[in-house]
C-alpha cells in the first residue's frame, strides 16, 4: 500500500476512534469535577484526580432515587444473566425441536417463531403488560425477565448452526446408541459452544441496557435497574449532581465492557466460524 493512502486510512480511523472515545472521556473526566461547574457548562477535559473517591461514594451511598448504585447494578446483572441464560436455553431447545424432529405442525411452529421477529418488545408492550398483570407478575423479578427471554433471533441463529451439522453425524450418533437428549448434550452443545458464547455476549448487553420494559413493569424501587436508576438521578425536585450521574454511568458501563472483553475471542469465533 502507498504511504499516502496509509496516512488517509489512519486519519479516518483516528477520527472514528475520537468520535467513540471522546464522550466516554468526558464522562470519566466530568465525574471527578464539581457538579455545579458542569451544570454551568464549564466541563473540563482534564479529570480532577483528587476526586476519584466519587466512584466509591456513588457506588455505596444511597442515590436520590432510592437504592445505592451497587444494588441497582446487582439487579441489572441478575436481569441480564437471567435473560441471557433463559434465552439460550429456550432458543436452543426450540431450535433443536424444529431442526431435528419431525412432528405435526413443525413448520407452523417454526414460522410462528419466525414471525415474532417482526414484533419487538416495544410493539407488543401493552399486551405483554396485560398478560403479566393477569399473572400477577407486575413488580416481580420474574415479570421483569420473562417477556425478554423469548427470542426468535436466537432460535434462528441456533437453527442455522444446526442446519450445517451433517446428517451423517446425527446418524452416526444414532448408530452408536445416543438418544435425543444424549445427542443434544454430547454432540450439539459442544459443537455450538462458540455460538452460545457469542449469543451470551449479545444478549447480556441487550438485557443490561433494557429501559422501557423495566420502567413499565417494575415500579418498586427494589427492582430498579442501573439504567432506571441513572434516569431517576437526573432532574426531580433537587438539583442534579451531574458529576454523580456521570460517575454512575461510568460504573454502569463496566460490566458489559467486561463481558465483551473477556469473551471477545469466543464472540468472534461464534459469529464467523461457519462449518465445523
Amino acid at each position: 500500500m502507498k504511504p499516502h493512502t496509509d496516512w488517509l486510512a489512519h486519519s479516518i480511523l483516528c477520527t472514528g476512534v475520537a468520535l467513540f472515545v471522546l464522550p466516554l472521556w468526558l464522562l470519566l473526566a466530568g465525574a471527578t469535577q464539581d457538579g455545579g461547574a458542569i451544570a454551568r457548562g464549564e466541563l473540563s477535559f482534564v479529570p480532577d484526580l483528587r476526586n476519584l473517591g466519587i466512584f466509591w461514594s456513588v457506588l455505596t451511598d444511597r442515590a436520590p432515587g432510592g437504592a445505592p448504585v451497587w444494588r441497582m447494578m446487582l439487579v441489572s446483572a441478575a436481569l441480564a444473566l437471567a435473560i441471557a441464560f433463559g434465552k439460550i436455553v429456550i432458543s436452543l431447545l426450540s431450535a433443536y425441536a424444529v431442526s431435528f424432529f419431525r412432528f405435526p405442525f413443525r413448520m407452523l411452529c417454526f414460522w410462528t417463531i419466525f414471525i415474532t421477529l417482526m414484533l419487538p418488545v416495544e410493539v407488543r408492550i401493552v399486551p405483554t403488560y396485560a398478560v403479566m398483570a393477569n399473572f400477577g407478575l407486575i413488580n416481580s423479578f420474574t415479570g421483569l425477565a420473562m417477556p425478554l427471554i423469548a427470542s426468535a433471533t436466537a432460535t434462528l441463529l441456533f437453527r442455522q448452526v444446526f442446519l450445517v451439522i451433517p446428517d451423517e453425524l446425527v446418524e452416526a450418533a444414532r448408530m452408536d446408541g445416543a438418544g435425543p437428549l444424549r445427542f443434544l448434550r454430547d454432540i450439539l452443545l459442544p459443537l455450538s459452544a462458540a455460538n452460545m458464547a457469542a449469543l451470551f455476549v449479545i444478549v447480556f448487553v441487550y438485557g443490561w441496557n433494557q429501559y422501557l420494559w423495566p420502567l413499565l413493569v417494575a415500579t418498586d424501587p427494589k427492582l430498579d435497574t442501573i439504567v432506571i436508576g441513572i434516569v431517576k438521578m437526573i432532574g426531580g425536585d433537587t438539583v442534579t449532581d451531574w458529576n454523580r450521574v456521570m460517575a454512575a454511568a461510568v460504573l454502569a458501563l463496566l460490566p458489559p465492557v467486561l463481558v465483551v472483553v473477556l469473551m471477545q475471542k469466543w464472540f468472534v469465533k461464534g459469529l464467523t466460524e461457519g462449518d465445523k
Binding site: P166, E168, L169, E171, A172, A173, R174, M175, D176, G177, A178, G179, R182, D186, I187, P190, L191, K276
Partner: protein, 353 residues
Amino acid sequence: MATLELYDVRKSFGATAVLHGVDLALNDGEMLVIVGASGCGKSTLLRLIAGLEVPTAGRIVLDGRDVARLDPAERDIAMVFQNYALYPHMSVFDNMAYALKIRGLSRDDIARRVRETAEMLGLGPLLDRKPRQLSGGQRQRVAMGRAIVREPKLFLFDEPLSNLDAKLRVTMRAEIKRLQRRMGVTSLYVTHDQVEAMTLGDRLLVMHQGVPVQLATPMEVFERPATTYVAGFIGAPAMNLLPGVLCQGGMAVDLGRGMVIPFADGRRDGVDGRKLTIGIRPEHIVLAPDGVAVQIDLIEPLGSETVLIGRMDDGELLSVKVPGRAPAGEAIWVSFPAAMLHVFDAETGLRLG
C-alpha cells in the same frame, strides 16, 4: 458374528418406490458387496438394514430376530460412513469410546478395547488428536476403528473409500479386506466402484433400479453376467453389446457383416430369426487378418495394454483391448472367438444359457 436375511424388503418415499422387493441371505462372516449405479437403491438398502430408515414392507432378520422396526441402537450394527462422520469435537479416543460409554462399560474396559483396536489399526500415536488434525486416510481408519471397537454383529460400509485419493484407496481396500477376514464379522459393503466390488466381496449383489439383478461370486458375475445391464456394468472397459439373430436352428448367431458364429456351448431355444444381444468383452476380441474391419477413432494406452475404440462399417461402436502397444494403421481386423460370446435375449436382456 451373525447371519442376516432379508425377505421382500420394500421401500417407497411417498409415491416413489426405491426398492421393489429385495430378498437376500448373508452367511456368518461373509463379506457381501452391493454394487450399482447411483440411484439404484443400494444406499437405501443399507440404511434400512442400519435402521436409519423404516422399510415400507418386508422383514430384516438379524441372527434370527426381526429387527426391521427396531431403533438402530438396538440392532448391534456398526456403520462406516462415506464422509466418516467423526465427532469433530472429540479426540480419536473419545470418538472410538463413545458407543462403549453409552453402553455403560467400565472405564478400564473401554480404555483396553479402544487401545487394542487402535493398535490393530496403527492409530496408537493418534489417540489424543482431533479429527481435523488427521489426514483422510487416518480419518478413514478412525471411522473403521469406531465400528470395530463395538464388536458388532454386522458391519455396514457405505462407500467408505470414495473420499480418498486413488493410491490410498488401493491401500485401504486391501486393509479393509484383511481386517474383515481377520475379525470374521459379517459385512455389507456398498459401492459404485466395480474394482472395489470385485476385489472385496465374497459375493456380489448387482442392483439396478431398485431390483437385485444378480447375486453371485465376483468371478461368476464377470464370467456369466445374468443380464445385459450386469454385462455392461461389470468389467472395464465395458463389454461390447451387439445385435444379432438366431440362425441354423438355434445353433449359431448371425451378427451381420457375414459373421455367423456357432455357439460353443450348444443350442439356444427359439426359432431362427429370434432377436439376440451378443456380448463380447474387449479383451476377448482377437486380431484376425480375415476378420471384420474396424476404423479406429480413439486410442487409450494403459501401459501394459491398449484400448482401441472404433466403428465397424455400419457405424456400430466396438472397443477392443490389445496387449502392449496399439497396432499401426487406422483400421484393424478382428474376429470374435465363439467360446467368449455372451448370449442375451434382445427383448428382456436376460442371459440365454
